[in-house]
């Protein structure tokens, strides 16, 4: 059988193929990625899109956790100050209930409790990054203002709503307690109790029951702090979950789209060897034919 007398086109196409392999390998080595365009591996490219989406979401959840944590820590430490302040009010009340005190002694204690009232208003008007934390969702207005005509001595301008925020694909949590629940809860109204203490100190009557009222408000605030404690615990564990998830997603991304450098380098070496061999074969071919021998 007659054979193809001109193998050069075959050799050139072989050279082109190995050259293409070399280019692909070099590209993978330099980028560290096995998928640079979707056609390299369509399924992997699609998975990488979803992986990138999940990674971006996890990163965002972590940022949101950070923001919420900041706000909650502020709220919690402010409530701690409220608790301390109420303890001081209780001591003052117990002191004022002492029968040996005269009117002017009680009046000066009452003045001190009025100072506490102002202090509590200021604490309840905690603002974090431009928003009032204890105003429900009416965060652009200070929720408490002193008002001597009000029975509790203050007016609550906030609402009773709260916000919930998503910090995981299937995880969201409440981020705030409105002042109406914290400070103005019926039966354990902080401001009502303080106002009642001031009034009773000034009048010299019912001081004991006013102190009891403050104690119950104190217990109420302490109980409400559990909400912030729990939420911050949840945020902490969500944060470590998200960090783990981010790491896993990064590993997954590497598994799907990362270049296997050991394999790529070995491919590159074999492609280069093959190219070398083909080039040598080309140089050898057609060096001689019968014409060279005709004298």
């Amino acid at each position: 059988m007659r054979v193809n007398p001109n193998p050069l086109p075959d050799l050139i196409s072989a050279i082109q193929q190995t050259q293409q392999q070399i280019n692909t390998d070099l590209q993978q080595i330099s980028s560290g990625q096995s998928v640079s365009v979707p056609s390299d591996d369509p399924a992997a490219a699609a998975m990488l899109v979803r992986n990138a989406g999940q990674t971006a979401a996890a990163d965002q959840y972590l940022r949101s956790v950070d923001s919420v944590q900041g706000e909650m820590q502020n709220a919690d430490s402010t409530l701690n100050s409220v608790v301390t302040t109420l303890q001081r009010a209780i001591s003052l009340g117990v002191e004022g209930a002492n029968g040996t005190l005269n009117d002017s002694d009680r009046a000066s204690i009452a003045a001190e409790v009025q100072g506490i009232q102002t202090q509590l208003v200021s604490l309840a008007n905690l603002s974090y990054q431009g928003s009032y934390v204890f105003a429900g969702t009416a965060t652009q207005t200070a929720p408490y203002v002193l008002d001597s005509s009000s029975p509790s001595g203050v007016n609550y301008l906030g609402n009773s709503s709260s916000n919930t925020i998503t910090v995981g694909d299937h995880f969201s949590l409440q981020t705030n307690l409105p002042g109406s629940q914290l400070f103005s809860s019926a039966g354990s109204d902080v401001f009502q109790a303080v106002q009642d203490l001031i009034t009773s100190l000034q009048a010299g009557t019912n001081i004991d029951s006013a102190v009891t009222e403050i104690s119950s408000a104190y217990q109420h605030i302490n109980a409400q702090r559990v909400f912030y404690g729990n939420a911050m615990n949840q945020l902490n564990s969500q944060q470590s979950f998200l960090n783990t998830e981010t790491t896993q997603l990064a590993q997954q991304q590497d598994t799907i789209g990362g270049a296997d450098l050991t394999k790529v380098i070995s491919n590159l070496e074999s492609a280069q060897t093959s190219r070398q061999a083909t080039l040598e074969a080309m140089a050898q071919t057609q060096q001689t034919n019968l014409f060279n021998y005709i004298k």
Binding site: P5, P38, S39, Q60, S131, S161, N163
Partner: protein, 456 residues
């Protein structure tokens, strides 16, 4: 005397024939690297014998013809495979440009979708914060831009494919004209019994070129050939060629006409087939998916947005300008309707600190908004489709290249010029020529002997 003269004539026929054969070898060697050239072989035939009773004497050799060595079936297989090759090459090249719009990186649609929803989640942590609201507006703008850029690139690519279609048609017309002209030259030669090898080679070469552009069938007729497209549209009939023309439709898409008929949809193979497939099927398919995604996303966001309240407590208005009801062109025209960040309807109750509606908007990121899929999942499907189409075209293209190479090898093994073979032939012809010359010398000496015999 008469038989010596006859011998002289016989020896001369050998000289002439070997010279002619050497001409074939010379031509072969000269054309060793000419694309499409088929080697020529001399056809020697023993001349009719002279009967001188009782003897039958040979009268030498005739170089009957010089024929090109070719395998018509192989050539037609090469033409078919060239069509396939042309189709997949055009498609693979178009799709490799298309998929650049879908590589991951900054500015791609996938990250723009993520960034948009992330900005909403961030806003959720502090819904009255104007800088976070501005973040949402910016992210929405970027999202719209990423859709616009991809959609515009696809539209531009279609326009440039349109130009390629026109160019291909022009090339086809030139080739069919040349083939028709060659048909004339070939039948002129064949009518007088000559071998038209060189013209046949040229014609084969032109048909190969034509095959890479369009799906042609070669139909041999009396002494010539006709060419038609796969659906039977005539391109060449003997010495006449039929021109194709292009005409744009209302949307500017060039249609191909042959003798008044629109044959665009019948073009399936060859470069033209590949270009049309990319222009009229693959790219519009991707455009439609982008439109579905853009419209689905914009409508869902608008619906949530209009169900909430902005920073001033007013009912929300559309965040994105409403996409066309049909969805067609949604990706190219996606744009943000608001510039004032306070108009983002994050609140579900009208108070500025409420994030209920922002949460509802963020929840869209994982909802099955578009054909039951979340926006990111749907987009990942688009990326898969684009990548798959491109990978498929690449694979088909390289498979077809391999087949074509094998066929060309085979053709070369039949028709290619082997310098070894030509050198050997040259030696054979030279030796035979020398031998014939020697015979003439000998006859001459014999004649001298006869002449000398008479005078002495």
């Amino acid at each position: 005397m008469s038989s010596l003269n006859a011998s002289l004539a016989t020896a001369l026929s050998g000289l002439t024939a070997e010279q002619g054969a050497l001409q074939a070898t010379t031509n072969n060697v000269a054309n060793a690297n000419t694309p499409g050239y088929s080697r020529e072989v001399p056809v020697f035939v023993a001349s009719a014998p002279i009967i001188v009773d009782p003897l039958t004497l040979g009268s030498g050799v005739t170089l009957q013809s010089i024929e090109s060595v070719r395998d018509p079936i192989l050539e037609s297989r090469i033409q078919q495979e060239t069509q396939t090759q042309g189709q997949w090459t055009a498609l693979a090249s178009a799709l490799s440009q298309t998929q650049v719009n879908f590589t991951s990186g900054s500015g791609d649609i996938g990250s723009a979708i993520s960034n948009f929803f992330n900005s909403i989640n961030q806003l959720s942590t502090s819904p009255a914060d104007l800088s976070l609201r501005q973040g949402v507006v910016t992210a929405a703008d970027n999202l719209a831009t990423s859709f616009n850029v991809a959609a515009n690139n696809l539209a531009e690519q279609r326009t440039s494919l349109n130009g390629s279609v026109e160019q291909s048609v022009e090339q086809i017309n030139q080739l069919t004209q040349q083939i028709a002209k060659l048909n004339g030259q070939i039948s002129n030669l064949q009518n007088v019994g000559e071998d038209a090898g060189t013209f046949l080679d040229q014609r084969t070469q032109l048909i190969d070129q034509l095959s890479s552009l369009v799906d042609v069938s070669v139909i041999p007729t009396d002494n010539t050939i006709s060419l038609t497209t796969a659906n039977g549209t005539a391109l060449v009939a003997g010495q006449q060629s039929f021109q194709l023309s292009t005409q744009p439709d209302a949307s500017g898409v060039q249609h191909i006409f042959a003798q008044g008929n629109d044959i665009t949809d019948t073009m399936v193979s060859g470069q033209l087939g590949g270009l049309i497939q990319a222009r009229d099927q693959e790219i519009p398919g991707i455009q439609a998916q982008l439109d579905t995604l853009a419209a689905g996303l914009a409508n869902a966001v608008n619906q949530v947005q209009t169900g909430g309240y902005d920073l001033n407590g007013n009912p929300g208005t559309n965040l994105f300008n409403a996409p066309p009801a049909s969805g067609t062109g949604a990706a190219a025209s996606l744009s943000v309707a608001i510039t004032d960040p306070s108009l983002i309807a994050a609140s579900s109750d009208g108070t500025p600190g409420s994030n209920g509606n922002a949460e509802a908007m963020f929840a869209l990121s994982t909802q099955g908004l578009i054909q039951g899929q979340s926006p990111t999942d749907y987009y990942s499907g688009v990326v898969f489709n684009v990548g798959n189409a491109s990978a498929n075209a690449n694979a088909e293209q390289s498979a077809s290249a391999q087949v074509l190479q094998q066929l060309n090898d085979q053709r070369s093994s039949v028709s290619g010029v082997s310098l070894d073979q030509e050198a050997a032939n040259m030696m054979r012809y030279q030796q035979a020529y020398s031998a014939s010359a020697q015979v003439i010398t000998t006859i001459n000496e014999m004649m001298q002997t006869v002449i000398n015999m008479k005078t002495s």
